[in-house]
Structure formats: structure tokens, C-alpha cells
């Protein structure tokens, strides 16, 4: 998947953008209620430097991070409170990458269904009751499944089966395969026993996953595993800045946060209460999980706010004819 990021990065560079990595932003600089630049944190490549922006700043961060990046003096109290109140409840994913010497062979699989033809995604241990009970454990009791029998709907992908360019995992001279297994667990900040509860039993969960796998594929004995690098939701949160609360979904998806129930109506069109500051993240949509469409949609809004961009639009982009501008909609 990362090649998509690389190709987009190449496009951006070709068009004259500058990309600076290892530079976490510590603050958005606001002058007279307008976003004028960012300050990069002191322990980074740019070492406490300020980048001034003539036109504006686009935040591609989780909505929950906005209060940390802007001074609270510039927004009203409820704005911050409503952001803090957003539900991140919902499942998150415990991801373990099983590096194995051979692929599982399922005992009950039809013969013509060879390991080479296994589908990309596969669920094991999965019937409706099991899944419902798992959801109840996660969402109602706010616990991770403790017994292998509860591991419903384990979803795994055999990467190198379907994408030979990823190469073979090699360790200790042995040829291996990578199987990614995802298991639903509570998002860390909703875990009954605290955010690091799943981390504490990481190995145990991996062992349970192996147990379940062995029930279906008896060839997967312990000696078949080369390594099992694992990311809990809490780990993901540390490795990916936008994973606030370790929630894969960004935020809870609920009709009570959509349409006229938007908790942050002032940000409905990617604008923020700060002029020149835009929010372009999956969580710009309540419920999150709205990816890639966001920046495309944001362009419509930027063209409204920066008429000079419009002059050259046919050259680089054309707006959706369905877009109703604020002026047309009477909201401006």
C-alpha cells in the first residue's frame, strides 16, 4: 500500500511541493485570528523553526489533536469541549504479522481450493453468535477476548500470495511467508482496564491466535513460526500520529453525529473557526474512515476561499458540477 504514498509524493514533488519528514508540528501560529504558519517542535529536523504560510495551513491531523495545536484563546470553550466529547468508541484492530515457514493448509477446505488460491481476506472461527458475543465483549464490557473460542472473525491476509513484489520474508536463511492477522479489540481509551491492557497480554493473544489457526490448519505447529511482530492499537497510536486513541476507524460512526447532528457544524466544510486553517483528515467526517475523498472535496472549498486559485482551475483540476458553493447555497 505504501507505493500509493510514494507515487503521490512524487507527483507533489514534481509540481514543486516540498516534503519535510521528521518534523512534528507543535503549534499552528495564529495572528489576528488567522492561521499564518506552523512551529516545528524543537527535537526535530527543523529544530524549533517556524514555517510561515502566506495563504493558510491545512491540518491533516485527527480532529482530537486540533485543540493541542492551536491556542485555546482563539476558539470558544465549547468548541474544545465538543471535540473532547467526540466518541472514539468502536472497535480497533490488534494486528500481528505471522512470519511463517509454510502457508496454512486448511483441513476442511475443498481440495481444489489450494493454498495458492486462498482469497485475499479470510475469516475464521466465525458464526453469527460468535461475532455478536465478540462485539458484546468489546463494545459493552469493554474487554478484549480472553479465550481462543471467543476469537471470532479473525481476518487474515496472505500478502505474498497476491503481491509477489513484496518479496519473501527471509529470516535465518529460511524462506518465509507473511500472514497478517487482524483481531477486533476495544480502542485503548475505552478499554475497561486502561489503555495498555491489551499490550500487557500481547503474547498471550498471539498464542491464542496461533491456537485458533491450528484448529483449522493443523500444519501450523509452533515450529512453523519464524517471528510474530505485532502491533496493538496502542502501538499503532504511537507509530501513526493520526491514530488518536488507537482507533482504526477515526471516530464512532453514528447517525447521531451525522447530518444536522454534526457535533462540530462549524467544521462541516473543512474550515475551522480560525481563518485560513483547514482540516483535511478522515475525521473531518463524523465516523471517520473517509479517506482520500477529503482532499479532493477540500479543493472546492479552497477555490471558494482563494479566488486566485480559480483562474487556473481548468489546467489542474475541475470542480464537481454538483458542488454548491456557499454563495449559491446562501450560506455566505
Amino acid at each position: 500500500m505504501h507505493s500509493l504514498a510514494h507515487s503521490l509524493a512524487r507527483c507533489a514533488l514534481a509540481n514543486g511541493a516540498r516534503i519535510v519528514v521528521n518534523s512534528p508540528v507543535s503549534e499552528v501560529i495564529i495572528v489576528d485570528g488567522e492561521a499564518k504558519g506552523v512551529r516545528v517542535s524543537g527535537d526535530s529536523l527543523l529544530d524549533d523553526k517556524t514555517i510561515w504560510a502566506d495563504r493558510g495551513v491545512i491540518l491533516n491531523t485527527h480532529v482530537k489533536q486540533i485543540p493541542d495545536l492551536i491556542s485555546r484563546d482563539h476558539v470558544n470553550t465549547t468548541f474544545v469541549q465538543r471535540i473532547e466529547d467526540l466518541s472514539l468508541k468502536g472497535g480497533s484492530l490488534f494486528v500481528t504479522n505471522l512470519i511463517v515457514k509454510e502457508l496454512p493448509v486448511y483441513k476442511d477446505a475443498p481440495e481444489e481450493f489450494s493454498p495458492d488460491d486462498y482469497p485475499v481476506g479470510m475469516s475464521l472461527h466465525c458464526d453469527t453468535d460468535n461475532v455478536m458475543e465478540l462485539m458484546r465483549t468489546i463494545h459493552s464490557f469493554r474487554m478484549h477476548p480472553e479465550h481462543p473460542d471467543e476469537y471470532a472473525g479473525i481476518w487474515y491476509i496472505v500478502h505474498d500470495q497476491h503481491d509477489p513484489t513484496r518479496g519473501r520474508a527471509k529470516k535465518a536463511g529460511a524462506e518465509g511467508h507473511v500472514i497478517t492477522v487482524n483481531l477486533q479489540v476495544p480502542a485503548p481509551e475505552y478499554h475497561r482496564d486502561g489503555p495498555d491492557a491489551v499490550n500487557k497480554v500481547k503474547d498471550e493473544i498471539v498464542d491464542n491466535i496461533k491456537t485458533v489457526l491450528r484448529q483449522y490448519a493443523p500444519n501450523m505447529t509452533d515450529d512453523k513460526y519464524i517471528a510474530t511482530p505485532t502491533n496493538t492499537p496502542y502501538d499503532s497510536e504511537f507509530r501513526n500520529m493520526a491514530f488518536v486513541g488507537g482507533n482504526w476507524e477515526g471516530a464512532r460512526s453514528s447517525q447521531d453525529e451525522w447530518w444536522s447532528n454534526k457535533p462540530l457544524p462549524e467544521m462541516a466544510r473543512y474550515r475551522t473557526p480560525i481563518a485560513g486553517l483547514y482540516h483535511c483528515h478522515q475525521t473531518a467526517y463524523p465516523g471517520g474512515l473517509c479517506l482520500i475523498a477529503v482532499p479532493y472535496n477540500l479543493m472546492h472549498i479552497l477555490i471558494e476561499d482563494y479566488p486566485e486559485m480559480k483562474k487556473s482551475t481548468p489546467d489542474w483540476w475541475y470542480p464537481s458540477p454538483w458542488h454548491i458553493t456557499d454563495e449559491e447555497g446562501g450560506t455566505k
Binding site: T77, R82, D85, R142, R192, R252, S254, D256, P265
Partner: protein, 594 residues
């Protein structure tokens, strides 16, 4: 001239100078609105927007009526003495019509809406439907399913009928029934209307603690559990009861926002202006007379936002009342019961003792928590008792308001809470007050703890703080007061009984502040700047809100044909160029442009 008016005009003793009257003895306006509660304010806001001269009159020293946020406990501690939250914010047109949100009015809907300690269960209901289902699934997956079926049925009725219908003038019951019968959802609502709250909830196989919680939610504002004919209120109160929103900074800010709108649009608001008589000219209301003898004539209308008895029995002279009106007004029934409210100021936020379900630890506190009931039979017994004029036990709902709205407590670490319970209207309140307050604090003590007083490391319960405060600061007790129907019947009866108790610390220097503000130099500077900006803004010419012009249905573009299963972006765009229909809404670009 009345005596009061005469006193106002007496010459100044020092200079023999005649002071100009504050407000003319007689004045004329288009419309007089009596009562500056939410109803009077909203009516005046629309009338001034329509370009009429409006004078809005308020008996009290402050506008707002039920939208009161007052320092009844100590300075810097604000309590919403009547409305602490609003149900129908998502539907109410005036908020958008006057762009109140754009002028700083902020509603906040907390994540956790209602909690209930019912016997050994802890029921927890959330703003989001899905979160409530998750929470109820703790009692079994079937409970989530039953709630899902019930909740979506109720929501459909509210969204399709009750919500929008709240903002339509009522039709004749026969017409309404006929219209409802033409529609599935309407028929369902008619069916519900004939049942009582208990019957409606009994149809669902809810666990008793969950049923009891919904029953209390449906009945806490005056419905009797076994009363049939009002069943349509059950979906409304239960569905909207999980959409409670409060005004940040106190309910009074809504009143203030409307007042600003009225003034900006050229209206006049008089407080301390009690109307004693509605003046008539033949069969027409022609104005009002105030307590001090002033007369305000109305060219077009007099609008009363008071109850029918005050309006037609006390304010309208008997000889001016059309035949039968006084009899009808006498037939107006008052509720037998209302709500008892006890307000607290505490050091520290009341925190739960470990008596909640283990899996709920760490979840956001619900806005309101129902306490003191054992189950649904208990709720029914309790409400029956209250209707008979008794107070069977101490049970009701509790909210620590400042935990949700920090602006209500301007003192770091100190909090404002209230406990409310259904209570009979006629009751020996004077004798029982102290006893009741003690019982309430005892109930809260069994559920909450860890409220440290300054200088003490150990936790102390609400009651201890309260009692300690009473002992140390006796004078505060004198502030405790009670509102009840005026025995001589001259005042409109208060629908709300108020027992205020005071806990916390001793006197602090009083600063009169009209809006909650934070202390500290930086904030003061900020506020000075805000004040300046506000003054500048107010000098900007008034822009009236855009009138809403209803679009006749036949003008709206119709969706043409079936939506194709899938459209690529280019197909979509080409469709637009050809004047095709929108793939989702069916709208037509050409129509919109023309």
C-alpha cells in the same frame, strides 16, 4: 397618577430640578408582549424582525423566565434554576432564523445522557443510539435488540411527526387524526396514543431496571404511568431524553441572545414592569397598564405569554372578557405535582463510589443520573404517591452541571450540582425543608464521595460538606428560600418548587458580573477587548435575518427516473453538462442555476 408614579416624579430636594421620567407615562407601540420568558422573547424577536414596534414587559428584575441562570448559592457559582437542558434544539427554528449560533450561543450535547442506579443494575444511555445499544447489551444481546426495535420505532415517530409538528400551529384534533391515519407512522402513533406509558413499555421485553429507567424518563415531566391518551409523549420524551443539550454558560444565555436580537431590531424590553391590567377598547385589547400606573397602548395587538388564569382572570377586566372565557379559564387545571430541586455547591466534583457496574468504570459521566429507585414497580408506586400528595421517598435525578459546563463555577475546583425529584405541589414545605435537604444529601452520600474540602486530604461526602458548612457559616442558611404559590393569588403560581441549600465556604467579596467570566489579568484584558469589539459590532447597521420563503412543492426539481447503479465521475459530470439529474438527490443543475 398612581402613588408610585407620583413618587417617581417628585422634584429633586436639592436643586428643585424636575427629573425627566425614565419611561413616558403613556406610550404607544405596535405590539405589547407580556412576559420575557422564552415564549415572549421569541415572539418579540419575530415581531421586531417583521418590522413592528414591540415592547416586551417582564415582571421580574431580569428577563429569561425559565431560562434563568442565577447566583443562588454563592457568588461565582451559577445554577440553572429552571431549565438546565433543552430537548428539541435540533428542531427549533428560531435558533437558525436569528443566527444565534453565529452570535456565540453554543449548545452542547454530552456523550453520556442518562444513567440510572436501579437496584443492582447501572443503566447507561448515550447520545448516540449505537452507544446505548452497546451499553444495554451488557444485560444480554436481546436487550440491545429490544431497545433497537423500540428506539428506532420511537425515533421514526419523532423524526417524521412529533419533531416537525412541534413547530406547526395545532390543527383541529379531527383533522390531525384523519391526516395521521393516512400514513403508517401516523397510525402507529395513534395506536401509541391510546396506551399508557406502562402499557407501551410492557410490550417490549425489557429488563426491569431498563424499563424503570425509561418509565421515569417518560413520566418525570408530569405524565402518569397508567394514564392513557397521552401515549404519544412516550416516544418523544424517551427519544429526545437522550438528546439533551445544554447552553454553554447557562440557560440564560439563550434569553440574552434573543434579547440582543430584539434590541438590535429596534424592540424595547422593560424589566421590573409588572402588568396589572390588559386595557381594552370595545372588544379589542388595546394595551396594558403597569403596576406603577404607566400605560402602554398597542396599535396592533397584546400578546400574553402567561398562563390562561393570570391572563384572563387577573389581567383582563371581568367586564371586558367575552362570554364564557372566564369560565373556561377557571376550568384550567394545574398539575398536582411539580419538581423539588436542591442545589449544591461543593468543593470538588462529586465522584462515584464503586457501586457501578465494573464495565462502566471510566466511561464519561451521564448528564443526569436517576437515583433512589429499585425497579419499575417502585417508580410506579412513587409517582402514584406523589400524585396523591405524598412524598413516599427520596428518589429523583442528579446532575453536576459544572462538570459539563465549567462556566457555571468560576472557582477552581468548586462545583455546582442539583438534585431534582417529582414532588407534590401542596405539601408542608416550610416544616419539612431541612429534613428533606438532609435526606437528599444522605441519598447522594450513598452514591457519591470524595469531595474534599480545601485543606483536607481525605474525602468527605456531600452531606458532610453541607453540614460542616452549615455549622461554620450559619448566616448562609438564611439565604435558603422557597418559592411557592402566592397565598393571595395575585402572583402567577410557580410551577416549580425550589428549595435551595447552601454548602461550601464562607463569604467572598462579591463582584457583580452579568456574564460568567474567568478571573485573572489575562482574561480581564481579553474581555475588555471583547467588550470593545462588541461595541464596535453593535454600531454596525442592523441586518435583519433573511425571511424564510417556503418553496412550493411543485417548484422543487423532481428526481428523474431511477438512479443508475453506478456512475463514474466523468459520467456524473457529463450528466450535469447535459442537464441530467443528480445521482443522489435527483436535483437538476439547470433548475438550480435558473
Amino acid at each position: 397618577m398612581s402613588e408610585a408614579a407620583f413618587r417617581r416624579h417628585r422634584p429633586s430636594p436639592s436643586a428643585g430640578l424636575e427629573l425627566p421620567p425614565e419611561f413616558p407615562e403613556e406610550s404607544e407601540t405596535d405590539v405589547v408582549v407580556i412576559g420575557a420568558g422564552p415564549n415572549g422573547l421569541i415572539a418579540a424577536a419575530y415581531l421586531t424582525a417583521a418590522g413592528l414596534d414591540v415592547t416586551l414587559l417582564e415582571r421580574r428584575y431580569e428577563i429569561g423566565g425559565g431560562l434563568a441562570t442565577e447566583e443562588i448559592l454563592f457568588p461565582h457559582h451559577y445554577a440553572n434554576t429552571h431549565a438546565s437542558y433543552h430537548y428539541m434544539v435540533d428542531y427549533m427554528p428560531p435558533i437558525d432564523d436569528f443566527d444565534l449560533t453565529g452570535h456565540g450561543l453554543r449548545y452542547h450535547k454530552p456523550f453520556g445522557q442518562t444513567g440510572a442506579v436501579m437496584g443492582s443494575d447501572y443503566v447507561y444511555l448515550c447520545r448516540a443510539f449505537e452507544d446505548t445499544r452497546d451499553s444495554l447489551a451488557r444485560f444480554g444481546l436481546d436487550q440491545a435488540d429490544v431497545y433497537g426495535a423500540m428506539g428506532s420505532r420511537f425515533r421514526t415517530i419523532v423524526e417524521r411527526i412529533l419533531g416537525p409538528a412541534t413547530y406547526l400551529p395545532p390543527d383541529a384534533p379531527v383533522d390531525l387524526t384523519e391526516a395521521l391515519q393516512r400514513d403508517d407512522v401516523g397510525r402507529d402513533m395513534l395506536d401509541l396514543s391510546e396506551q399508557s406509558a406502562l402499557e407501551i413499555l410492557d410490550r417490549y421485553e425489557l429488563r426491569d431496571s431498563v424499563k424503570a429507567t425509561f418509565l421515569y424518563m417518560a413520566c418525570q415531566w408530569g405524565l402518569s404511568p397508567a394514564e392513557s391518551g397521552m401515549g404519544f409523549m412516550v416516544p418523544l420524551l424517551i427519544d429526545r431524553g437522550m438528546q439533551k443539550a445544554f447552553v454553554h454558560g447557562g440557560s440564560h444565555r439563550l434569553a440574552s441572545a434573543f434579547a440582543r436580537v430584539i434590541l438590535r431590531q429596534g424592540g424595547i424590553i422593560l424589566d421590573n414592569a409588572e402588568v396589572v391590567q390588559i386595557l381594552t377598547d370595545g372588544e379589542r385589547a388595546s394595551g396594558v397598564m403597569l403596576e406603577d400606573g404607566r400605560k402602554i397602548h398597542a396599535r396592533k395587538a397584546v400578546l400574553s405569554s402567561l398562563d390562561p388564569q393570570t391572563t384572563f382572570l387577573h389581567l383582563l377586566p371581568a367586564e371586558a372578557a367575552p362570554e364564557g372565557l372566564r369560565e373556561s379559564a377557571r376550568g384550567w387545571n394545574w398539575d398536582k405535582w411539580s419538581l423539588l430541586s436542591v442545589f449544591f455547591a461543593t468543593k470538588g466534583k462529586p465522584t462515584w463510589r464503586d457501586n457501578r457496574d465494573n464495565s462502566m468504570i471510566g466511561m464519561p459521566d451521564p448528564f443526569a443520573t436517576i437515583l433512589g429507585f429499585e425497579g419499575s414497580d417502585d417508580v410506579v408506586r412513587f409517582l402514584d404517591g406523589v400524585e396523591r400528595g405524598e412524598l413516599p421517598k427520596i428518589a429523583g435525578h442528579f446532575t453536576c452541571e459544572s462538570a459539563f459546563d465549567p462556566a457555571l463555577s468560576q472557582k477552581e475546583g468548586e462545583h455546582v450540582s442539583f438534585f431534582q425529584m417529582p414532588a407534590p405541589y401542596d405539601f408542608p414545605w416550610e416544616e419539612r425543608r431541612d429534613d428533606l435537604v438532609r435526606q437528599v444529601t444522605d441519598l447522594l452520600d450513598t452514591h457519591f464521595g470524595g469531595i474534599p474540602r480545601l485543606g483536607h486530604a481525605g474525602g468527605r461526602g456531600v452531606a458532610e460538606v453541607h453540614r460542616a458548612a452549615d455549622a461554620e457559616h450559619g448566616p448562609w442558611l438564611d439565604q435558603a428560600r422557597r418559592l411557592q404559590p402566592d397565598p393571595d393569588g395575585q402572583q402567577p403560581p410557580q410551577r416549580r418548587l425550589l428549595v435551595e441549600s447552601h454548602a461550601g465556604r464562607g463569604p467572598v467579596p462579591v463582584r457583580r458580573l452579568d456574564v460568567p467570566r474567568r478571573d485573572g489579568h489575562r482574561w480581564a484584558r481579553l474581555h475588555r477587548r471583547t467588550d470593545r469589539l462588541r461595541r464596535q459590532r453593535d454600531e454596525v447597521p442592523v441586518r435583519l435575518p433573511r425571511p424564510r420563503t417556503p418553496v412550493p412543492r411543485h417548484v422543487l426539481p423532481r428526481r428523474q427516473g431511477r438512479r443508475p447503479a453506478r456512475l463514474t465521475a466523468s459520467e456524473m459530470h457529463r450528466g450535469a453538462a447535459d442537464g441530467g439529474c443528480h445521482p443522489v438527490t435527483g436535483g437538476c443543475r439547470k433548475t438550480r442555476e435558473s
